[in-house]
């Protein structure tokens, strides 16, 4: 396996100036990324997660050449991103979930035509890629629609296509499913899996949605306070964090807390009760047990969020 992305003790230190008085300012150093080392092999699909302000976007910005690291060594496809930003740009695709790179007032196809020329994509290659993208992301009816008229999910699909037209070796996705409905999420995930399998594109994605990781990534890296705190399989993360899923149950009427093996009631509010059970375990037996014995009206399962998982990981460490 060749190391496609390699970080060696990479650091990023910001100097933050804070106004403390009328003219007085205080300078403080903030270590956004602290001696971070990891490698990603070609064709891997890695989830990069962590709480807000943990250093995720700073890392991505260094990997794309937007930010210059304060220390350490960093290579993407053998290129030093900070020194050869423009050369690297041909090798990478970037999707910022919350900011579109598409042209707001123009038909979607115009943004692709610009990419065609700006990236100097050979004509045949461009047509082939565009056709494939249109097919997989169901963009056919959208090409002539001005971007401002697209729904969030359609725009995200449009953005992902734009990031892949020039055949990048690596794709960075920053919150690619944020704000999308279930159907759009499924489409985006399905497409990413396909691209990864078909072209061997290396994918690094940051997300708050653990399901993105569950369905896409065999490997997950957790960063907190600028340091890598976990690197491995998602299942392992759940174990390390002892995380729990929550089953929200609506009963016909107010009842005393239900009794279910392998789950415990954590909250009761009128006819609604919250049950916690280990994240590694299936919800089906719990639901079946409940349905048999209690008058159910409705239920839903909530996945643990990343913040909770990481918080538990820390609590665990402190105890042991």
């Amino acid at each position: 396996m060749d190391e496609f992305i390699a970080l060696e003790r990479v650091e990023k230190v910001f100097e933050v100036r804070r106004r403390t008085g009328f003219l007085r300012r205080e300078r403080r150093e903030v270590r956004a990324v602290d001696s971070l080392s990891f490698t990603v092999a070609r064709g891997e699909m890695v989830g990069y997660i962590g709480p807000n302000g943990a250093g995720k976007s700073t890392t991505i910005k260094m990997l794309t050449g937007i930010l210059t690291p304060s220390g350490g060594r960093l290579r993407v496809a053998g290129i030093d991103p900070a020194r050869e930003r423009a050369r690297l740009a041909h090798r990478i695709g970037v999707v910022f979930g919350q900011r579109t790179t598409l042209w707001w007032d123009l038909p979607l196809i115009d943004s692709y035509r610009l990419a065609h020329r700006m990236y100097r994509i050979p004509d045949a290659r461009y047509r082939e890629n565009l056709d494939r993208m249109v097919e997989l992301l169901e963009l056919g009816d959208l090409l002539d629609v001005p971007v401002r008229q697209l729904s969030l999910g359609q725009r995200m699909r449009g953005d992902i296509a734009a990031a892949l037209l020039h055949d990048p070796d690596v794709l960075y996705l920053d919150e690619p499913t944020i704000g999308l409905d279930v159907v759009s999420k499924a489409k985006v995930r399905g497409f990413l899996r396909e691209v990864n399998a078909e072209r061997g594109t290396t994918v690094l994605l940051t997300t708050h949605d653990l399901q993105d990781i569950e369905q896409l990534c065999s490997r997950v890296m957790v960063i907190d306070h600028g340091r890598l705190v976990y690197d491995g399989r998602l299942a392992g993360l759940h174990e390390a964090g002892e995380s729990e899923r929550t089953l929200v149950v609506d009963l016909e009427r107010e009842l005393p807390p239900v009794e279910v093996p392998a789950a415990r009631v954590v909250r009761v509010e009128g006819p609604r009760q919250w049950l916690a059970f280990p994240a590694g375990q299936s919800a089906a037996p719990v639901v079946a047990y409940l349905a048999e014995r209690y008058p159910l009206v409705d239920l839903s399962v909530r996945e643990p969020d990343i913040e909770a998982v990481i918080a538990r990981m820390y609590a665990e460490k402190a105890v042991s």
Binding site: K61, L67, T68, I92, V94, L106, R117, M118, Y119
Partner: protein, 276 residues
């Protein structure tokens, strides 16, 4: 950097500029009526600006010893130079906003020079209104002023306009570079408003609005039109400066351009190391 790579980068920049500018033109054409109205408005506003000067001349025969056609000559030259620069890269002042909302990052991941992309940002053809108005005033003045058209004076005209445009462009770039460091637009604005008000304490009526705007950029202004234009008009030089300085504008433009380029590089470097 070897000269050939520099030339390569320049060509690359011009190419990216044209690609992005063309996209903005298409974007504005999505709202044709609005485009027509803003272009007309742009023209009308600058036109009224000159009408104010003409009204003044209904009371006096000369300003600072310059009759109306000669003032129009100065006005037209400055307006064309500034208007052209404004048309080319006038939207660079949006950089501060891009830095604040983080959309500058989307330009940094494209394989094209950032300066070219930022310069072409929000390229607006409606700004043709201003250049057109300046050109009309200049054209009118040329039919009225009494100039002894020698070959060197004739040559100096395009040199003057192009250099003036270059000087103004350099100021735009330097201003944008400053926004990397001071993103609170207020601070940037202060530099301009305070600088402007200091000037406006003197009777602004002596200058056309374009000139007052130009004077804000203190040093290079004299080279945009005062020095070369007085040479063309055959008038006594201000401050008793040597005559050959009339030919200095290209050098001044190149010098300003180089300084602005350095400022831009420093600004971009600081952005890439601080990221906010």
């Amino acid at each position: 950097m070897a000269p050939w790579t520099r030339r390569g980068r320049l060509a690359e920049g011009v190419r990216a500029y044209r690609l992005v500018a063309a996209m903005w033109v298409r974007s504005t054409m999505a709202y044709r009526a609005s485009f027509a109205m803003t272009t007309f408005g742009n023209f009308a506003a600058t036109f009224l600006d000159f009408v104010a000067i003409m009204l003044m001349f209904s009371r006096v025969d000369a300003l600072g010893g310059y009759p109306l056609p000669e003032v129009a000559f100065l006005y037209g030259l400055s307006a064309v130079s500034f208007g052209a620069a404004d048309l080319l890269i006038g939207s660079m002042d949006r950089l501060g906003r891009r830095v604040r909302d983080g959309t500058l990052d989307t330009l940094l991941v494209r394989p094209a020079p950032v300066l070219a992309q930022v310069a072409a940002d929000r390229f607006a053809l409606r700004r043709l209104g201003r250049v057109t108005q300046g050109a009309l005033v200049l054209g009118w003045s040329l039919t009225r002023v009494d100039i002894d058209w020698t070959a060197d004076r004739l040559l100096l005209m395009p040199v003057m306009v192009v250099s003036g445009c270059g000087i103004f462009c350099a100021v735009f770039v330097a201003g944008a570079a400053f926004q990397f460091v001071a993103q609170d637009a207020s601070e940037v604005q202060n530099a301009f408003t305070y600088g402007g008000t200091t000037l406006l304490q003197y009777p602004p009526t002596v200058f056309a609005k374009e000139l007052v705007r130009g004077v804000t950029f203190v040093l290079p202004l004299a080279f945009v039109n005062w020095l070369p234009a007085t040479y063309v008009l055959g008038r006594p030089y201000p401050l008793g400066l040597p005559l050959w300085l009339a030919w200095a504008p290209p050098l001044v433009a190149v010098g300003c351009g180089a300084l602005a380029g350095l400022a831009w590089r420093a600004g971009l470097r600081s952005y890439r190391s601080t990221g906010s």
